[in-house]
């Protein structure tokens, strides 16, 4: 593990090419700061995220995972919202089975200009994770 003192939780963000990624980019453009331990992997659509990817991330050391979902803006149709919800539900189920705190996985629909919302979301997740995972340290 890295040696520097850990201030922030490691968060993996799954964002989508057309919708939430532009919002995250714009957060940068507008210099809306958020913890640098937030990393993004971009996929075409949030409903295509597999639960085992998320579990793998926890297993390898991510503290939290945030799904920046397409919501109703999804280019692949309106069923995306419901299906992404299912993916999250499925993963929560598996997390419980593995004794992982389900609150370590969060999801919110982000429109392509929802930079503020993105920053709010990851900051709040970060605070939660620091409180629950690093408070004893």
């Amino acid at each position: 593990m890295t040696s520097f003192v850990k201030k922030n939780a490691k968060i993996l963000v799954f964002s989508t090419e057309k919708i939430s990624d532009p919002a995250i980019d714009m957060a940068g453009l507008l210099k809306l700061h958020y913890p640098p331990t937030v990393y993004t992997i971009t996929v075409p659509c949030s409903s295509g995220i597999k639960p085992n990817w998320i579990l793998h991330a926890f297993e390898k050391g991510f503290d939290g995972v945030f799904i920046a979902a397409d919501g109703t803006d999804c280019v692949f149709g309106e069923s995306c919202t419901e299906k992404t919800g299912k993916v999250v539900a499925m993963t929560h189920e598996k997390m419980k089975q593995n004794n992982l705190d389900p609150a370590r996985l969060r999801m919110a629909a982000l429109c392509s200009v929802c930079s503020d919302a993105f920053v709010r979301q990851v900051r709040s997740l970060n605070e939660y994770l620091i409180k629950t995972r690093y408070s004893e340290k």
């Binding site: 919708i19 714009m26 803006d73 392509s112 200009v113």
Partner: protein
């Protein structure tokens, strides 16, 4: 100048690179034809690229426009001339048009500029930013706006003190004050006019106090205030930087108004005002928004539902056109109107007023045709010679019209009209 005219050849000339012109150029180019797209501004994407979100879906304008715009800029069959104007067009024979084009200097070599903004930082000059409709300043060396395309610096020579600071910091040495106007002579087979519209200038209605009362803004200024690339850190009154909480919309400013010479309806103002109202309610949860209207024209797909949604959200709709606006000492505004439903003249106080300005014809192409002249309707929009059978046709065979150049239109209708014009242009190219 004449002898320095460079000769170029294309299949199609599209004048105006707003969404209608852009869509037309893409459609034609996708069928293998070489298209020259001429734009007088520094950036393509027209007015739409400057909008916040668009009705009735509330998706952001930039998200729709920027991919289109980069597709246009990258397309191997499309050549874009920005800061350029077509000065004359002559139809020589069936499918041969000769056009003269003037390309004004940008003083920046676009292909070398990386939009690093160092010149902008270095420039000491500050003037009103026309892309923010005067709400904030910009430098004399500047990138028009953050999602402009081409995303490259421009030098505003009129305001430049020629200090050379920009040039000294530019890492790619792309700034060049020796650039001069270039002239081209173009041969094309077909021409599409997509010259768009002009916004009504509310200074023509002195009783609304625009220009005099600083908290009276145009809808385009409000559009910028709520766009992600907004001029202020949040929504503020330009008169004193206060957060507004009683905002009024004055519909039909310069539309349906014979007294200012524009008797027709602009089609979009009702809808964009409702859209702004909804966005404002999201951004300023405490704000009350009132829309003063004559008739609400929510006629398109999903528009009526959008109107109902605005009502349900609590937007206050008042039937009655604003007659006069006066200012109070604290910058608030008194609006006098007749409440039509009650038949009573009333006064209402608001702390910010948005004038929903209409669309007027853009008369920039009116004089460019030589020989066979282009015809216009009574409002100076381009005349559609077969409105019902072939709406994109003009009176000149081989010249087509797309978008708001032929009359007020919303974005979906402009895109359809562009599809129609490109269809006619492609057919014309195949047949000739």
């Amino acid at each position: 100048m004449e002898e320095r005219r460079k000769k170029i050849e294309f299949d199609a000339l599209v004048i105006g690179a707003g969404i209608a012109g852009g869509e037309t150029a893409l459609n034609i180019a996708n069928n293998g034809y070489k298209v020259l797209l001429v734009e007088k501004d520094h950036s393509i994407g027209g007015k739409m690229i400057l909008l916040s979100k668009v009705f009735p879906t509330l998706d952001c304008a930039a998200c729709i426009t920027t991919p289109k715009v980069s597709e246009i800029a990258r397309h191997p069959n499309i050549t874009v001339f920005t800061e350029s104007e077509v000065t004359s067009i002559v139809k020589k024979t069936e499918s041969l048009f000769i056009a003269k084009i003037t390309k004004n200097p940008r003083y920046v070599h676009v292909e070398d500029c990386t939009a690093c903004q160092l010149c902008e930082k270095a420039c000491p000059v500050s003037v009103r930013d026309e892309y923010q409709f005067g709400l904030v300043g910009r430098k004399a060396a500047y990138i028009p706006f953050s999602i402009a395309n081409p995303k490259a610096a421009v030098i505003d020579l009129e305001q430049c003190t020629l200090c050379g600071a920009c040039e000294r910091v530019c890492p790619t040495h792309c700034i060049d004050f020796t650039m001069e106007t270039e002239c081209f002579e173009l041969q094309v087979k077909t021409v599409v006019l997509a010259t768009g519209f002009q916004l009504f200038d509310p200074l023509k209605i002195p009783r609304f106090g625009y220009g005099k009362y600083k908290n009276v803004v145009t809808s385009m200024q409000m559009e910028r205030e709520i766009a992600p690339t907004r001029p202020y850190h949040t929504i503020l009154r330009p008169g004193d930087g206060k957060i507004p909480d009683q905002i009024a919309y004055v519909l039909c400013t310069g539309s349906r108004d014979d007294s200012v010479g524009n008797p027709v309806c602009s089609q979009v103002c009702c809808m964009y005002s409702m859209k702004q109202a909804q966005l404002l309610m999201g951004a300023l949860p405490m704000a009350d928004i009132t829309i003063y209207y004559i008739d609400i024209r929510s006629f398109g797909k999903g528009f009526e539902e959008f109107y109902q949604q605005a009502k349900d959200m609590g937007v206050n709709f008042v039937k009655g056109k604003i007659g006069k606006i006066s200012e109070k000492e604290n910058g608030n505004l008194i609006l006098r109107y007749e409440d039509i439903q009650e038949g009573i003249v009333k006064e209402a106080e608001h702390d910010m007023v948005v004038l929903s300005v209409g669309m007027l014809s853009n008369q920039s192409v009116h004089q460019i045709f030589d020989g066979e002249m282009l015809q216009f309707d009574s409002l100076n929009f381009i005349w559609q010679s077969d409105l019902l059978g072939s709406p994109a046709k003009t009176n000149i065979d081989g010249v087509f019209v797309a978008g708001t150049a032929s009359g007020p239109m919303d974005i979906p209708d402009s895109i359809l009209s562009a599809g129609s014009a490109s269809s006619e242009a492609i057919s014309y190219l195949i047949q000739h």
